[in-house]
């Protein structure tokens, strides 16, 4: 799975958690926080992504990512 695939999974789950973002043009430089995701939303998005990737890592390992692109990089490195 490449980074583009992971980016698509993250943005799909972001739209599930924040339906107002349906149709939004996501950029890797955007942070989930600036897109309106509160801390619970962000945990939910990351957990849904980990589940989709069947990636068993602690949630805490993803918290350093400051935007979607960095989150994708962290997840890709763990695959």
């Amino acid at each position: 799975m490449n980074k583009e695939d992971i980016f698509a999974i993250v943005t799909r789950h972001t739209q599930e958690v924040i339906p107002a973002l349906r149709g939004h043009q996501f950029q890797p430089t955007q942070s989930l926080r600036e897109l309106g995701a509160n801390s619970i939303d962000r945990s939910e998005i990351v957990m849904m992504t980990l589940e989709s990737l069947a990636l068993r890592i602690p949630l805490v390992e993803t918290v350093k990512a400051t935007n979607i692109g960095e989150l994708v990089n962290v997840l890709h490195a763990k695959l």
């Binding site: 599930e16 958690v17 339906p19 619970i40 945990s43 957990m47 849904m48 068993r56 949630l59």
Partner: protein, 415 residues
Amino acid sequence: MQSSDSSAVLVTGVGITSAIGHGAADFTAALLEGESNFAVMKRPGRQCSTGDEPPTTQFIGAEIPSFSPPDGLPASILRTASLSGQVALATLHEAWHDAKLADVDPVRIGLVVGGSNVQQRELTRAHESYRERPQFLRPTYGLSFMDSDISGMCSEVFGIRGFAYTLGGASASGQLAAIQAVQAVASGQVDVCIAVGALMDLSHWECQGLRSLGAMGSDEFADQPQLACRPFDRRTDGFIFGESCGAVVVERAGATTRAGVKPYARVAGWGVRMDANRNPNPSFDGEVGVIRQALQKAGFDAQSIDYVNPHGTGSRLGDATELKTIEEVGLKHAYINTTKSLIGHGLSAAGASELVATLLQMRAGKLHPCGNLDQPIDEACNWVRDRCVDHDIQRAVKISLGFSGINCAMCLERS
């Protein structure tokens, strides 16, 4: 809103979601037609699959056939709301708009959600889904497993800032919530208070437990679900579950001024009495005591009551005890029907949903028929049998009882 008594507590809004109708208009029409919707329950998590083919344990009940939240509720909240939470939001939405609460100071509005452990089916499904991979359990489970998530969601969506909490009282929860709301406005704690009887979302575990306990029917009508729910009938063999949620808005007369709000009734008296008993068995003394307590607080003579909405679950001992109570307190002359015979036993919701049914019958000037009341255990009661009756309720008594010895009663008067 007009009332000659500034200390009067009035019901100014209602909301209802049930297996026979969503919203006051559809629900009233279905009640008066004597409609019901009992079948083998199909909602995921309500059948127990043992792995054998084909044995599964199934239960009879009345499930809400189609539910979609009203427009305007936030999709981001609805996504993680349980069925109980979604139905509470929808039912509160109706009551909120019925009572025209949009311009009331939110600090002067309270909310009491009746019911505890109401989301069991959703929890069971989450456990079954994540049993082999618990590390992927959704973080929002940490919020939503608590019933207080329902009062929290409701307070966020409607901007309620007075107080909001849940209150548990088994099958009396809905009416206990209403009594708590009445006391909150009567004391001046808030000007307006909403009571919601939350939908009790049973999983197969609770259904099995209630069957094993001997509380839930039906062995006798396993192949005829539409005949299984028959409170006060000689052939009843236990209560039959039904999904519902009821909401009432109560306020002190004159505490706020809003055009176009027409009270449903005045809450004249109420009572709560315990049997000092952990078990599910009813208490004649407790029931007699609580009805007399409510009548006394209202200042009503029993003879002036013209309608009783009983607890009436379909429990043989419970039904017989309740009718004996009604005779003892001098209410046998009053019309009596059983809302549970049409919508099933909502458990935590029952007291609120049946309070709404009482208020809507009061407004309609009609009393709904009973389902399956073929041979009443006491023919001498003033039953509304198989068709609705024209009657303008002047004074009503609503009874709610719960496991662990909880007895509640409320007196309503046409306002």
